[in-house]
Symmetry: D2
Subunit: 336 residues, 4 copies
């Protein structure tokens, strides 16, 4: 049996909610993949997931990466651990799918861009799974095919029903807005050059000092404007919409309109997607499946380390924009 036919043997680092979700997807829904190593700082959690997916536990993340039976690595550890772990993957020449953020500061992110450039081939893929969602893919195709003419504006909406109190405005930028950073870059195929945050009236359920909702405004290299409403305590459901306004038409995704139900309360309509699994579960599966196929060939098939670096740089400017209320420029370093 050739190398391409046998299963890719994967180490999963970090099996909190996201990592466990990925481990299960690799074990039960991803053709050509096998989880062989599980690592987590919480020994019990690691043991539980390892047992479920038929893998062994390795206590040290770097040892897990370097384990001889490991072909590729999925990183779902906390962001502050990413820099060292991704470096280790690059050093070992092993493909890695790293959940966002790439790292927690711009310098270390750029260091990874340079490190991968030194390796000479793409090994680091970022977990921006919306690129694999059917609606975002259709929207991208529509733009690419010229169906909207030159895209002029992008309007994004990201609403969560509820979050814990530590989800302050800076956190909202780094954890939620980061998705729209990648969506904007993906759809428009250019870099973001500034960020401004409009801070209005906060919902009463937001903790003191947290602006929620906010409207984030991005400008891009060619001068396009991207708006992003980020609300994370709506009490409603998970609403993610994107509208692109082009010279010859506009298109909107995320309207949730498939199942229409009318009931005794005299309303028509349907359930709003309750959470990210219902909305993007299929995108995650597609992301993993395509990454596995690429990793067997020693490469990636999705957003790369530069996308991770750019997102970190924009989000750091975004955090400054939250704090100052001013427009903050984003100056990316040279792309290798």
């Amino acid at each position: 049996m050739s190398d391409l036919q046998r299963d890719l043997r994967i180490a999963v680092l970090g099996v909190g909610m996201m990592g466990a979700f990925h481990a299960d997807a690799l074990a039960t829904r991803t053709k050509g993949a096998r989880v062989v190593v599980v690592n987590d700082f919480a020994a019990e959690k690691a043991a539980e997931v390892a047992a479920r997916v038929g893998a062994r536990v390795v206590e040290d993340p770097i040892a897990a990466i370097n384990a001889p039976e490991v072909d590729a690595v999925l990183i779902a550890t906390p962001g502050k651990a990413h820099a060292e772990q991704v470096q280790a993957c690059l050093a070992a020449g092993k493909p890695v799918l790293c959940e966002k953020p790439l790292t927690t500061d711009e310098e270390s992110s750029y260091a990874l861009v340079q490190a991968e450039a030194a390796v000479g081939r793409p090994l680091v893929q970022l977990g921006f799974m919306r690129r694999f969602d059917a609606e975002y893919a259709a929207l991208k195709d529509l733009i690419t095919s010229g169906g909207l003419g030159n895209p002029l504006l992008v309007h994004c909406t990201h609403r969560n029903p509820a979050v814990p109190d530590f989800f302050n405005s800076e956190f909202m930028v780094r954890d939620s807005v980061v998705h729209e950073v990648d969506v904007a870059r993906f759809l428009l195929d250019e870099e973001i050059t500034s960020v401004q945050v409009l801070r209005g009236v906060a919902t009463s359920s937001a903790p003191e000092g947290t602006w929620d909702p906010m409207i984030v405004v991005f400008e891009t290299e060619s001068g396009r404007i991207v708006t992003d409403e980020i609300s994370v305590r709506t009490g409603v459901a998970y609403e993610v919409r994107t509208e692109v306004v082009g010279e010859t038409g506009s298109a909107m995704i995320g309207l949730d309109q498939s199942l229409v139900r009318t009931s005794t309360d005299g309303r028509w309509g349907g359930q709003i997607t309750p959470g990210f699994v219902e909305r993007f579960g299929q995108a995650y599966d597609t992301e993993l499946q395509r990454w596995v196929a690429a990793a067997k060939q020693g490469t990636i098939d999705g957003p790369g380390v530069w996308d991770g670096y750019a997102a970190v740089a924009v989000c750091e400017a975004g955090v400054k924009a939250v704090q100052t209320g001013e427009k903050v420029a984003v100056a990316l370093k040279a792309k290798p």
Copy 2:
């Protein structure tokens, strides 16, 4: 001031819910119209409406029709009074807007067709107000302009939230399905030749012996099929939809999708039209306004006595179809 410029002076016969609604519309929202006479078998109700619209009460309906200051007549009395009252209008040569049904049996309806033919010009307009609704008008235009190709099928849905217990299956045909009889004839521009009623499981709120919902199937002269779901105890709201399936496309009206609201219950959607006033109030106003303009010229501008007769004939066949479960042929008499 010429005759066309002065207000049309109208007698309103019957001021129950529908008649009072029309009297108010004529008095407050219909340019060029004035209610001068009000008649109702309930003296108190007549006095109340007359006072509100600035008219005098005439106790006898035929005297009201023949009052010298009356230019035209609006009939909203119970159906069994229609035959004599419409005859009186024809005898007086006065334009009349008659609420459905034209009469309560086929013979007397056809007698009015003949009576109007003897007069020699159209004086009798029927209250099938959906023809004046913007959505139905757009659907008709779409068909007429060839936008759907040859129309092959029509699917109708008519759902009421609740009705009194006397609303049995025969009543449902005569009072509700009658609207779809006219819609089908209006959209397809041909006569109905048979009726069949599919009687399934009744909702638990229907009285013993009442089939609710029913599916009524019409065939037309050219062999087209029209289906009509009639449900009058849905507990939901007022839902009236029509879909036309043509050779080159289909079109649906009645989807209620203008105001979209998302709320704490995690649903998207909006209010379903609660009742006929919200759904068709504007159509009623348009019907009256156009009838007033036509009546000043001694004619009609809407469905006429033949449409009223055809509806009665089809509904009588429909009632037989309800009772027998068989397909019942409709044989219209000669059109004068």
Copy 3:
């Protein structure tokens, strides 16, 4: 016949597109109203409209206002004529419905606020007809009834298919954005305190130096944020949407989803409202009908002179915001 029963006799000043539209509506669709005087600087146009509606021409606008048979005045002349004409109406104690803008500068607008205050009762109504549109009214009701909780954000979209070349960015603010200025003030029931304009990539059909589209950002007294996308050369149709995001839910109007058609090109969907008549014709009629009823009582029933002044003040700030790219504060004078 009492004063309230006889027709309100109206002078229409300015019968360009908007004024002629109003004159026809008053003459043919507005119960209780009669156009008795028509005035326009173009004599031929005035004669034509006067003949159509059965009125006489008065060549001087101030003489038209003061004509003894005139009960009330509708002003649809160019904005720069408004200040003097509205003053004349106030001096004559005659109710006036003035198309936007109230005047072309903040000082003269505020002078009218003071002049009306000196009269002691509301006589000046502004032509912000969206307040009479069923969807905007439903949205306002939803907010007022608490159905969305505290409203936090308002997102507006205003897209025209095409405009003449003189429609530059400043004109877009004064002529189009002005509607959203009133919508925001109407829905949120508070004043706007600053304006910022985000100027991105212009569509290729915009003349040199014109930003089209723009995103206008308003802040209100309580700190709420209102965004408004204004695009006037989309090549598509007339799209006017408003979404309000509240603490407990959100609501959107303007989705155009009633008639759904599927055709040979493999798309579902329907016609987008082609222009303002189709979208707001009914609102104009309602505005006139309600104004006529109020004017008979010597008052108004809609947005007043303060609303006109506030709109002018915000738009002037908006024009500065277009030119500078900076956030421009709006400081309203004292409300009498």
Copy 4:
């Protein structure tokens, strides 16, 4: 490695469009499955698919079923070959996923019901993949959870853009309506007791003697009514809708409303699903994935042989109903 962990080794019989689609899905998207044997009466086609999925060709279908390395069988051969092939699977005790129809006549279908009963455990799963579609599953859940109250009516719509000329009315019943037969039985959880076919005006692109569209009416054991519009030459796209009307509300799926696009032609809307792969591709994948998991345990996870038999019985009645225009009773044999 345990039996449950190693790949299920599958023989695919028939690699026309459907079979090749399944073979590719098993080889590239179905975790835990491997195609080891390919069979087709067209040797070249068999060789091509076998090469692509890494399997060997076996020329005789019964030999393919009985090949020692084969754990389970997927049958996508023409319907007339099914009876013998399914019998061989049962004889070999091997799980089989059989595309519809189970067989081409009621007798042979019932014989398989009895044969499986003799084996004593479910081995035969039918390819009614809509049960695995997210929208149908949500609709089923809604009914099962009581969200609609007692379901009273089901309205189905099945529209194809185009078909070859051999797709006559009888073929439409056996090939297309058969899906709604299973949908109705699945949603209502009871058997169909009669079929009637309403044959109206045919589209001009239908060959002489073919009724297209038709409306098929089913009655169920409890007396519920199911309507099904079947149109296979609409020239539009692939439209599959189902609405369930219950005592306390109704629900509709298949509205295609996710991606909304507005363009220069002044229409809003989106692409209608162009074909079954776009509409149900995910359902097929889910069907295969779940069948593979069940087959490893020697059982099925989806519609079984009784569902296949019932569908054949109803469709045979449907074909008679097409031919006679009468209501035709369906009398199922005893369920073992």
